[in-house]
Symmetry: C2
Subunit: 334 residues, 2 copies
């Protein structure tokens, strides 16, 4: 084995049996509104707090994905989940209802990618058969945790992104039909010295470039083999920066490049750079991309979920913003 | 495969090449003080904040473990880390320095167990050779994040535990000499309705009982096969509760039972129930237990790291405290 090779081919090709998505009203009004399984009319979802609403959304996504896959929760070997809340509150409380073995993850907005990687590598061992991957984010719980009280109505700068209110779950299995996971690249923590907490795209773009470059360098794949290479969630400006950084490494993905954050809202929704959050690329993938793959409109897709690894405290303590990105290549059913 | 079996035997028996521990002054004065590799005289470790000090302690532990194993950081395929801070601040910033592939975990005080499980299962796939597992906690960063400002000097109730200032790292490898990982059980989220944030032992004991019972039920092992069964960190009262809960399931581990939290401090240090924190069972295992195994004073050990999956917000929102526990069985070198 090469030293520090970060790309792994999954010989068993784990399958995504089903996915299910639950989003808030703004996401329902967005560019992909028609594709989501459940659109809330009230982002409190009948709960008293946004954090409990987010956890309920994640539970609802898991229940929906299980129902769609036709398997019971008793057949799930493992749940791998995470979210943006302190101590991954939403995921831990959702896992309490599910009663399966549980591994909690934190990778900021890259967490959905991290969960797919952990689940698919473990399925590839042959020790685990069926795994549930779920993540969530909520505009109101994230905004008040990371930034300002919602009641303050702060102005947002043009480089900012809007945290997606959304939860999604994917049921992965060693056998069965569905979109398959082909290869994965685990990301590294990369810090290019960005210290503007309202410019996450710039903080994460170097990590995305590093991971995409490692994926193509180690896997033997070429950008032109893919129908879509999609980051989550660099936003519009971060996406442009990524294309430039890759161009400097002689990698050109511009023909097939998209970003989940840039895709999810309509321009008139004034989210500036687009969406972000641990739920963003999850709901865009499960509701839109995976379904296009099932219809064979897309045959080969590289998903690159990105995360900014700051806490509320780290910028106040003078720290720059480290980023991470993971890559997962999917194939449509034959 | 049995449905929802949570115990896995690692056929490749991943080895712990080395471990290294860094602790604060209070831990240095504690019952295991002589075993730690580095004892700080100042728990700020030359940094301006406790959070940065904790991150530096984790970096120092990783450097120490790498040096002791004789391998370079370039040979590490993957780092799997976590801590108690919001957005696992200490681990993300430590990983930034290490430059390996990185998976961030959150499992509260069970995180060291979670990292050993993820690392050893991935090594067992044959895809990853060498993995670094690190976790940390810091009394001052945890206290001000979860409870009250340090300056307030709040009284602590008799059921409370003291967050350990400590960081540890283990280097796991597919080959080489050292204590080996034999079997692992992944925990479930269990909530028995405890809502006292100063009684974590009671909140976590049911999860520990559930995992230990699953381990013995699924692995074919018996408690009498083990020289030590050690939880981290139920504390004294939580440990007694665990023995009672297991006794109700006809499992008697009392002859070989210990708790990392109860072991780490001296009674006169007035920590009441003992230590806790994502660094606690890590430093007790790496400094004390693993060395006893290398000397063959202990041949077979079951480590059961436990975690209370609350956030600062969840009790304020009327939620009870879910717990989780993972189990890892180790064998001394032949």
């Amino acid at each position: 084995m090469n030293k520090r090779k970060r790309t792994f081919e999954l010989k068993t090709k784990p399958k995504i049996l089903s996915g299910y998505t639950v989003v808030g009203p703004k996401e329902g009004d967005g560019a992909l509104g028609e594709y989501f399984d459940k659109v809330l009319t009230d982002d409190l979802f009948g709960e008293k707090t946004y954090e409990l609403a987010e956890s309920k959304m994640q539970q609802e996504a898991v229940k929906g994905a299980l129902k769609r896959s036709g398997i019971s929760k008793e057949e799930i070997d493992l749940t791998v989940s995470g979210d943006l809340l302190n101590q991954i509150y939403a995921s831990c409380f959702a896992a309490r209802e599910l009663e399966t073995a549980f591994l909690g993850l934190y990778g900021a907005c890259s967490t959905f990618g991290e969960s797919l990687i952990v689940a698919s590598l473990l399925i590839n061992t042959g020790m685990i058969e069926k795994c549930c991957c779920s993540t969530s984010s909520h505009f109101s719980s994230a905004e008040r945790q990371y930034r300002y009280p919602l009641e303050l109505g702060n102005q947002r700068p043009p480089t900012s992104q809007w945290t997606v209110t959304g939860a999604g779950a994917s049921i992965l299995s060693a056998d069965g039909d569905g979109v398959s996971i082909d290869k994965v690249t685990i990301g590294r923590v990369i810090d290019f010295g960005i210290d503007d907490v309202n410019n996450m795209g710039a903080a994460m773009a170097p990590a995305a470039a590093d991971t995409i470059s490692a994926f193509f360098g180690e896997s033997g794949e070429k950008p032109e083999d893919f129908d879509m290479i999609v980051t989550g969630d660099l936003g519009r400006y971060g996406g442009e920066l990524l294309l430039k950084l890759l161009y400097e490494k002689n990698i050109n993905i511009s023909k097939v490049y998209h970003d989940c954050g840039a895709m999810i809202y309509k321009p008139e929704q004034q989210t500036y750079q687009g969406g972000s959050g641990a739920g963003c690329c999850n709901v865009v993938f499960n509701a839109f991309i995976a379904n296009k793959m099932l219809k064979k409109e897309l045959k080969k897709v590289l998903l690159v979920p990105t995360g900014a690894l700051l806490s509320k405290d780290s910028p106040l303590q003078g720290q720059t913003i480290p980023g991470i990105a993971h890559a997962i290549s999917f194939r449509a059913p034959e």
